[in-house]
C-alpha cells in the first residue's frame, strides 16, 4: 500500500466544480481517496504551494499508433535525424518530431502532464498493429476508435437494405473484435468510393458503386452506437476535408445526425467558406453557431501549428487529391483490405501562406467562439495539424490575447488585417483549459474515473507552477503522477510503467458471426478465426502486460430516431 499527499496547490477540477480551490489531494494505491487525517504519515508528500493541480491531460484524437503512423515514420527519415540522445537511463532511444517513435511519444506526453492519448483511426484489419504500437507507448493509457463506414460489408448491408439490427450487431462485433473504445467514420463512404475511382463525395451524393449516401452511413452508425450504449458518440471526419466551401458539407453532416450524438473531429479542416478574392474564407463563426445550437454535437479542433509536419489519414480520396502539395515531395497512398485506406502526405504550414495563416486563425476562432467548453476539445490532430508537443504553445494562444495578437501580426498580411480573430477578446481561463484538455475528453469518452480529481478517480495528476508564461508553465510540470506513481518531475521521466488500454464491450447478437464468417471466407484474405483480438492477446502480446481498462457501456436503449 502506498500513500501520497499533495498539499498547498490550487485545484482546478471542472468535473467536480472546483475552480482554484485550495485543498489537499490524497492518494492510496493509485486512487484518489478522501483526505487523510491531519498528521498521518504518508509515503510521498508533494509541496504544491504556488502551483495548480489538474487531472492528467487526455488527448482524445492523436495518431500515435498503427500502419499509417509507421509509414509516416518510414517516409520521413529527415524528421528523425540529428536527434540528441536522452541522458536519462530510463529512456530507450527513440526519435522523431512530427512522427516520433512510440517510446518517444509516451515519454513526451507524460513529461507534459498528459496521461492518456487515443488513436482515432484504427482499421479493424490493422487493429493488432495499432494495439502493438500503443502497447509500446509507455506510461500513458491509450485506446482507439475502429474505422467503419467505408468497409465493403457495411456498405453492402446498407445497399441491400438489411435490417438495422443486423448492421448494429456488425458494429458491436467490430468494436469487440478490434478492442476499440469507439467508432470513427472517415469521409463517410468516400474512401470506398475512391477505390471505384470516384473523386468526390458530398453528404447527399451517391457512392458510385453501392448507391448509398454519406448521410445514411452517418445516421446508421450514430444510431448503432447509441443503441449499443457505447459512451463515445460517433467520431466523424466529415466529407470534403480541406476543400474551400466545405462548411456546407459540415453543416449537412450535423443535419444528417438528426439529433443523434456525434463528435465532429478536427473541425478546423472542415470550416472553410468561399468568400473573398482567394475564394477561401473562414466559416468558423458559422460552425460555432451550429455547434452552439446543436447540443448533440461535440467537436475537437485540429489546430494547425506552423512548421513541418506530416498528415496521416484514412481519407485516401482527399489525401491523393492533395498529394501535389506534399512538402517534401513524396507521399503514400494505400487501399486496405476492403476496410478503408490510408494516405500519408508531409506538409509544411507556412506563416506567409494565405491559406495556412487562415487555417491557423480559423482553428483559434473555433476555440473562442464555441460557448460550451464541455463540447470542444483541444487537439492538433497530431501530427496532421502539428505535433502534440505544441500543446503548451496552443494553450498560451488561447489564454493570452496579447500573445495571440503578436502571432497574428506575423502572418500573411491579408489574414492579419482581416481575420475575425483579431476582434475576439476572449481569453480562456485555467478552469476552461482544464475542461478542454481533461474533463471534457474524459466525459466524451465515457471514462468515469479519469479527467478529474474526485474521490475514486485514478490518480493521474499533473501539477504545474503557476507562471504568467502559460507556454512555459504547461511545457514542464512540476510533477506528473500516473496511477499514483511519480512518472515525471521538472520535465524529466522518473518511472516508466506500462499504460493501460481502454476499450468497450458492447452487447450484440452473436449470431451475426455466422454471416461475418461466410463473408470473410468468400471475400477477405485473413481467416475468420484471426478476426477477433482476444483479451489475453491484447494484454500479454499487444500491451506488454499493461492493464485492460474496459469502459462500461450505458444501459442499452432503442432510439426513436430511426
Amino acid at each position: 500500500m502506498t500513500t501520497l499527499r499533495i498539499r498547498g496547490g490550487r485545484i482546478f477540477d471542472p468535473t467536480n466544480d472546483e475552480n482554484g480551490v485550495a485543498r489537499e489531494i490524497c492518494v492510496r494505491d493509485g486512487r484518489i481517496v478522501a483526505p487523510f487525517p491531519a498528521g498521518m504519515p504518508v509515503d510521498h508528500e508533494v509541496d504544491a504551494h504556488g502551483a495548480i493541480v489538474l487531472a492528467g491531460g487526455i488527448d482524445m484524437h492523436s495518431h500515435i499508433g498503427g500502419g499509417k503512423v509507421n509509414l509516416a515514420r518510414m517516409l520521413l527519415p529527415e524528421d528523425h535525424r540529428g536527434a540528441a540522445p536522452s541522458d536519462n537511463p530510463l529512456e530507450l532511444a527513440s526519435c522523431g518530431r512530427c512522427a516520433p517513435g512510440t517510446l518517444r511519444a509516451g515519454y513526451r506526453y507524460a513529461e507534459m502532464g498528459y496521461t492518456a492519448a487515443f488513436e482515432p483511426a484504427m482499421l479493424p484489419s490493422n487493429a493488432r498493429q495499432a494495439h502493438f504500437e500503443m502497447g509500446d507507448t509507455p506510461i500513458i493509457d491509450h485506446g482507439a476508435y475502429a474505422l467503419l463506414g467505408n468497409d465493403d460489408l457495411f456498405l453492402q448491408m446498407l445497399a441491400r437494405g438489411e435490417p438495422f439490427e443486423r448492421v448494429r450487431d456488425y458494429v458491436g462485433w467490430t468494436i469487440n473484435a478490434s478492442k476499440a473504445l469507439g467508432v470513427k467514420v472517415v469521409n463517410p463512404g468516400g474512401i470506398s468510393a475512391f477505390k471505384f475511382n470516384q473523386r468526390a463525395l458530398d453528404v447527399d451524393q451517391q457512392h458510385v458503386h453501392y448507391g448509398v449516401t454519406p448521410r445514411s452511413v452517418l445516421h446508421t452508425l450514430a444510431r448503432a452506437l447509441l443503441e449499443l450504449g457505447v459512451p463515445h458518440p460517433l467520431h466523424i471526419h466529415s466529407s470534403n476535408l480541406g476543400v474551400a466551401g466545405n462548411i456546407a458539407s459540415t453543416l449537412a453532416t450535423i443535419d444528417a445526425l438528426g439529433g443523434l450524438p456525434g463528435h465532429l473531429t478536427h473541425v478546423q479542416f472542415h470550416s472553410y467558406g468561399t468568400e473573398g478574392p482567394k475564394k477561401f474564407s473562414s466559416a468558423a463563426r458559422t460552425l460555432a453557431q451550429a455547434v452552439n445550437a446543436n447540443r448533440n454535437v461535440s467537436v475537437d479542433v485540429g489546430q494547425i501549428i506552423f512548421g513541418q509536419t506530416v498528415t496521416a489519414s484514412g481519407d485516401t480520396m482527399r489525401q491523393v487529391a492533395n498529394s501535389d502539395l506534399a512538402s517534401p515531395r513524396k507521399w503514400v497512398a494505400a487501399d486496405i483490405e476492403c476496410d478503408a485506406g490510408c494516405g500519408v502526405v508531409p506538409f509544411r504550414y507556412r506563416e506567409a501562406s494565405y491559406v495556412n495563416a487562415l487555417q491557423w486563425a480559423i482553428g483559434l476562432e473555433l476555440f473562442l467562439l464555441v460557448d460550451d467548453p464541455w463540447r470542444i476539445v483541444l487537439t492538433t490532430d497530431h501530427p496532421n495539424g502539428g505535433p502534440f508537443t505544441s500543446y503548451p504553445h496552443l494553450i498560451r494562444l488561447l489564454m493570452d490575447r496579447s500573445f495571440r495578437a503578436e502571432q497574428l501580426a506575423k502572418l500573411h498580411p491579408d489574414v492579419a488585417a482581416q481575420a475575425d480573430l483579431a476582434q475576439i477578446k476572449r481569453e480562456l481561463s485555467l478552469y476552461e483549459i482544464a475542461i478542454l484538455t481533461r474533463a471534457a475528453p474524459a466525459r466524451l469518452l465515457g471514462l468515469k474515473d479519469r479527467g478529474h480529481l474526485g474521490v475514486g478517480a485514478a490518480a493521474d495528476i499533473a501539477i504545474y507552477r503557476d507562471q504568467p508564461d502559460r507556454e512555459a508553465m504547461f511545457a514542464t510540470p512540476l510533477c506528473v503522477f500516473k496511477d499514483g506513481e511519480l512518472v515525471a518531475r521538472d520535465g524529466r521521466i522518473t518511472a516508466v510503467p506500462a499504460g493501460g488500454v481502454h476499450f468497450v464491450e458492447p452487447d450484440y447478437d452473436r449470431s451475426i458471426e455466422r454471416e461475418l464468417e461466410d463473408y470473410s471466407d468468400k471475400y477477405l484474405a485473413l481467416a475468420f478465426r484471426h478476426a477477433m483480438i482476444g483479451k489475453d492477446e491484447l494484454c500479454n502480446c499487444c500491451n506488454r502486460g499493461g492493464r485492460l481498462l474496459p469502459t462500461q457501456c450505458r444501459a442499452t436503449e432503442t432510439s426513436s430516431a430511426g
Binding site: R73, H80, P85, G101, R128, F132, Y523, L526, R529
Partner: protein, 416 residues
C-alpha cells in the same frame, strides 16, 4: 489436425491445416505449397533433444545465456543480424540493442531496402491481398515470377476465383509464370523488356503520362491496357529486380502507379519480408522512429541504409561481436561472410547446431511451430497470429534475448 498459419513465407497462409502428430515431420493439408513442405521437413521431433552449446561443447541454457552476456559485455560495436524472429522477438532485441549499442539489420533486408529507400525518397503506392481479390481487373507483374518464392501467391490474390474479376496477368521482363498460366480462366502473356528494365519502365511512365516517346507496339498496348483497366495491380519482388539499382526500379514502378491513379485506379504490391523481415522492420520503426539498418549508439540513433548492411559490416570487419537470430529457416547459412574469429552468438533453429561455428549456440523455437507469435503479412498491413502447434521444449527468441539482457546487466554490475 489443427488449423494452421504457415510462417514460412510472408503470405502467412492461414486457411490451411497441419497434422503435427507426436512423431515425424508435420504434414500440411489444404495446400501443396512446396516451400511450406520443404520447411516442414526440418521439423521432425528430434528438436526436443537439441541442446545449447558454448565453444562447441554442450551447455545448459543458463550457461549459454551467461556466455552470451559476456560476449556482449566485452563488445564495443556489436551487430545484431539475421533477426529472423517475430514481433515479440524484435521488441526484446531492441531493448538489448539499447543495452549494448548494437547495429540492427535483417537477413532479408536486401529484399526490403529497395522499397524502403523508395519510400524515403518518393513515397509509396500500396494495396493489399483482399483489395486485389475484390478490386483488380489487371495484374502487371514486373521482373519476376511470383510463384518461385511465393507459391500460393495467385491463390491468395484470388486469381481466377469466383469472387475476383481478375482474369488477366501481364508479365513484364519475364516469361509467363507457369503457375499463372495453369489457371484456366486466366489469360497470361509476357511483354519482354524493351532495352532493359530501366528503359522499359521509363517508357511505360512516359506513355501513361501521354508524353511523346518512341516505344514498341507491345509497350504501347500495355500502357493503353493499364489506362483502360478499372484497377491495375502492379506486382514486383525487390530482391529479384535486375541490376544493381533496384530502388530506382521500384521508384519507377511507384511512379507508374501514381500516374495511372490520376485517371483510373492502381495499387502496388511488393513481394518481400520473409522470415520476420517485415516484423523486424515495422517493430524497430515504431519503437525507435527508424527502420532497419539503424545503430543504437551512445551518440544517438543513426540510420545508415548502405553502411549498416550486415554483409558489409562483416566483410569490413567493422564489428567485434555478432548476435545472429535465425528461428525459421535452417537452410540458410548463419552470417555467411562473418570472420571465423568474430565472437558470435547464434539463436537458431536446432538444425543449425551441426554447422554453426558460433561461440554460443542456443536452439530456439520457430514461431508457428514450437512457439506462438505475431508476424506481418507481405502487404505490410495485417499482423497475423501464428500459434504453437507442438511443444518442442525450446525457448522462444524473446525469452532468450530478455534473459541475456538481464544477465548482461548483472555482468556489468559485477564488473564495476
Amino acid at each position: 489436425m489443427t488449423p494452421w498459419t504457415c510462417p514460412f513465407c510472408a503470405l502467412l497462409c492461414d486457411r490451411v491445416a497441419l497434422d503435427a502428430a507426436a512423431s515425424g515431420t508435420p504434414r500440411l493439408h489444404g495446400s501443396d505449397c512446396p516451400r511450406a513442405k520443404r520447411a516442414l521437413a526440418h521439423f521432425d521431433t528430434g528438436a526436443a533433444a537439441a541442446q545449447p552449446s558454448v565453444d562447441g561443447k554442450t551447455a545448459t541454457l543458463e550457461a549459454a545465456i551467461d556466455a552470451a552476456a559476456h560476449v556482449l559485455a566485452a563488445a564495443r560495436q556489436p551487430l545484431f543480424g539475421g533477426l529472423a524472429t517475430d514481433i515479440a522477438g524484435a521488441r526484446a532485441v531492441y531493448k538489448l540493442a539499447n543495452a549494448c549499442h548494437a547495429i540492427l539489420d535483417h537477413a532479408n533486408s536486401g529484399g526490403l531496402l529497395p522499397g524502403l529507400r523508395t519510400l524515403q525518397d518518393r513515397g509509396l503506392l500500396q494495396t493489399t491481398l483482399a483489395e486485389i481479390r475484390n478490386r483488380a481487373d489487371l495484374m502487371v507483374v514486373i521482373g519476376t515470377q511470383p510463384s518461385k518464392d511465393y507459391p500460393e501467391f495467385y491463390r491468395r490474390c484470388g486469381l481466377g476465383d469466383a469472387v475476383s474479376t481478375l482474369r488477366e496477368v501481364v508479365f513484364a521482363g519475364t516469361p509467363v509464370d507457369p503457375s499463372a498460366d495453369a489457371i484456366k480462366s486466366v489469360t497470361s502473356r509476357s511483354v519482354p523488356w524493351s532495352g532493359d528494365a530501366y528503359a522499359t519502365l521509363a517508357t511505360l511512365n512516359a506513355l501513361c503520362k501521354r508524353r511523346p516517346v518512341e516505344a514498341s507496339g507491345a509497350l504501347r498496348e500495355l500502357a493503353q491496357r493499364m489506362l483502360a483497366a478499372k484497377y491495375v495491380v502492379l506486382v514486383w519482388e525487390p530482391g529479384r529486380l535486375p541490376g544493381a539499382h533496384a530502388a530506382l526500379l521500384v521508384e519507377s514502378i511507384n511512379e507508374l502507379g501514381k500516374t495511372i491513379n490520376r485517371t483510373t485506379r492502381a495499387g502496388g504490391l511488393a513481394l518481400a519480408g520473409n522470415e520476420g523481415g517485415l516484423a523486424a522492420n515495422q517493430t524497430l520503426t515504431w519503437l525507435s522512429g527508424l527502420p532497419l539498418r539503424t545503430g543504437v549508439h551512445a551518440s544517438g540513433l543513426m540510420h545508415e541504409p548502405h553502411r549498416y548492411s550486415a554483409d558489409r559490416l562483416l566483410a569490413d570487419r567493422a564489428v567485434d561481436a555478432l548476435l545472429w537470430i535465425a528461428s525459421f529457416d535452417p537452410e540458410r547459412a548463419i552470417a555467411a561472410n562473418a570472420p571465423a574469429s568474430l565472437p558470435t552468438i547464434a539463436l537458431a533453429h536446432p538444425a543449425h547446431a551441426a554447422r554453426a561455428s558460433a561461440r554460443v549456440f542456443i536452439p530456439v523455437a520457430t514461431p508457428g511451430i514450437g512457439a506462438s507469435g505475431h508476424l506481418f503479412r507481405l502487404d505490410g498491413v495485417v499482423i497475423v497470429p501464428v500459434a504453437k502447434v507442438r511443444d518442442d521444449g525450446l525457448p522462444g527468441v524473446a525469452d532468450v534475448v530478455e534473459r541475456i539482457n538481464a544477465r548482461l546487466q548483472r555482468v556489468r554490475e559485477e564488473s564495476v
